[in-house]
Symmetry: C3
Amino acid sequence: MKRFVDLADFSREQVLELLALARRLESHPEPRALAGKILGLVFFNPSLRTLASFQVAMMRLGGGSFVINPGQGTWQLETRRGVVMNGAAAEHVREGIPVLASYCDALGIRAFAEGKDLQSDLAETAFNSMIGLLDKPVVNLESAVNHPCQALADWKTMDELEVPRDGRFVLSWAYHPRALPLAVPAAAVHMAAMRGMEVVVLRPEGFALPPAIMQRARHAAAASGGSVRETSDRAEALRGAQVLYAKEWGATEHYGDGAADARLRGALTDWCVREDWFAAAPGCHVMHCLPVRRNTAIADEVLDSARSVVQREAYNRLPAQMAVLHQLLRS
Amino acid sequence: MKRFVDLADFSREQVLELLALARRLESHPEPRALAGKILGLVFFNPSLRTLASFQVAMMRLGGGSFVINPGQGTWQLETRRGVVMNGAAAEHVREGIPVLASYCDALGIRAFAEGKDLQSDLAETAFNSMIGLLDKPVVNLESAVNHPCQALADWKTMDELEVPRDGRFVLSWAYHPRALPLAVPAAAVHMAAMRGMEVVVLRPEGFALPPAIMQRARHAAAASGGSVRETSDRAEALRGAQVLYAKEWGATEHYGDGAADARLRGALTDWCVREDWFAAAPGCHVMHCLPVRRNTAIADEVLDSARSVVQREAYNRLPAQMAVLHQLLRS
Amino acid sequence: MKRFVDLADFSREQVLELLALARRLESHPEPRALAGKILGLVFFNPSLRTLASFQVAMMRLGGGSFVINPGQGTWQLETRRGVVMNGAAAEHVREGIPVLASYCDALGIRAFAEGKDLQSDLAETAFNSMIGLLDKPVVNLESAVNHPCQALADWKTMDELEVPRDGRFVLSWAYHPRALPLAVPAAAVHMAAMRGMEVVVLRPEGFALPPAIMQRARHAAAASGGSVRETSDRAEALRGAQVLYAKEWGATEHYGDGAADARLRGALTDWCVREDWFAAAPGCHVMHCLPVRRNTAIADEVLDSARSVVQREAYNRLPAQMAVLHQLLRS
């Protein structure tokens, strides 16, 4: 494996092998597997789980890491091509990123969507412009429309919960005060489709996922025997669901238009996951990638119940990423 | 040992054992004692000594660590229960803290007093709400009214200086432009009382320590043969003192009321420790937990003299904490 | 070696030995050479290469490190002597720096020029006041008028490119929106002179390097058979040059006077290195310490061409610093 930037780069069988490796590393630790190896971690955006779990993953395997937060203790980095750099950014990623890569054995990069131009974000313009500069192993720590580490951890979590391969996976939009990126919803529907599940995207009008994201998920479903559809009918979507995966995202119809998005979402504060959502799905698990705003996206009563598996998902980032790093760096 | 959150959780003999272990680790390093162990460090507030010395303590024992500063490169964390999270905080400690703990073998947390409600701070509401979520070893890196790592380092420092067990320990209020928390004064008087010393709290009117803190110290003194009293008479307090422990704190009579506190402290800028304080205590050591404002809390002439042992206290954080970690993590 | 703060502290032969060690560590890694050793890194100013490469250097040699950014997650540190600290700084370097040094085996410090008083900066007042407190190995991570790690990496880069010992090294002023410090230009001319090169300082009127910096370089040139001169004639300077070392710096005639400096530099935006500069120096390499502003100091066409060796210089920070740390810490 040379890169871990998109689950779609791998076959279903390759993902299953990664998951098997993750389980093996949990039961049979390899504390020297990556001795002498160093991972560079570049965070253009905030992080909690990714920041902690990647450092720990390297330490648990005997390696090391360093962290760079552009603009915080280090220079602000420019990503646009061809600009005259007379503003705030002191350095361009065309220098900064290859230089950091030259110090380490693999580089992880987190770069959220710009949130201005949907087509540019769907094309992963900024992220691809950076990884295109590198000839070393690269890990996607969340890009504009992808988050493969989260997807892998979520898959592992569902396996542990014995969620059937063909179970119903409902990705539900949830309320948030602001428009958030499409990375996790896109990665989650693709992952569930690749796993072979009956994927239902439940969202209010105006928040349909972009066709390109739905198409990618349908493509994965076709190969694995799953299916993907969307609805705004909550009761119908949740009936018999095994998993409700809650996630906040912006109005794709008004991508980059904060005011129009705000008008639309202002009326949707009832999209906060509550216990009464599950009348017809008593054993339904609630998933969320975290961070989650309590009583805004998901109510306390749900997060504090056995229904919530959000902490397990977060924990599974660690073994999932250890498997990824093991594959990337174990020579 | 499962937790190191309060020196009062241990008997005097247990503290002496920790100090003996600290000295042993200085003379006989154990560079592999914590091989493979990982400490998570969460700082809700700034830190210099704690930040550096805990990372070094783990490295000196063969382990590793990671650092999380909520709101700086990572999400701002909410601590209040039951709130609708539609403000600045993206994540609640009820998710964030257990998730971080799931990645490591022990978690250290620094969370200063809120400084609004004295009873809430005395009850360690925020800190206890976090550690109550954890079933792993926990270290208190300074909470609302406690700082056991500092207390342990200070005890070790006095042992090295051969300060008699029954010597006079004067905790003196010192000037600072703003009201600071009660954590260090509370921990220092309790520690000195537990050590068996004659503890005198020297403070201007309005700055008496809360009764609950004095009571805790008196309880410790009763068990160890020490004593605790308070005064505003500097000359009397310092006569024959072995140790002056200077510390800034807020007016407990006006807890949470910055304006009233400022009116009171405005007239107290002469509470800056100077050499002429020690006319009747020529061998008196000056202690301070650091950071200290020069010529505000303690004058240059004192900090630059042999009387000052503040750097030794700071250095002793390292061996003291190595002993704590050794006890918590050495299986 | 006890300190690495100035290349001028070493003979030419000692520098050549360091460079030989750097090459040896690249071809024959010593992953346990600094096992158990810890480097403290204090950054008063932003950093990318230094921040990452020193952490990696320690890891590659089996040691560890910690990072302190005063004012970011830790206290703001005061450097002035004798002040009454009732402002923003919570701690003085006279406590903070020795305390941090007490936790580790060597301390690196980055402290840029204050940019107010040229004589004070030339005397390295702030940096020297800190290292004067330490009796442990110290590394200069860039001070007011020095950057020996960059100089060492640049020397190594020229050796690899087989730039002749007596080749022409042109340090050229380059445009930047603000006045930058003299550290890199001072270190670069001194290093090239010490290497034995024909050093030409090319700069617009008003930007001549201070006499003290030129004198230091001439002194080094005299010992090594090199030479140092200055000019504002670009065509003459570049004719037959082997190296153009571009760097931005402030108007020394108006040191500390931002408005006067701005008036002067406002007319100098054409000091952006372009391909047509090299008509009479076809094989000339372009060097820069980074960070560099694209199309402001150096044009895309140059940075993206084979002429640019800026990434190699940045990579060479790693082996150069590994050699320094090996010499300082390998007992």
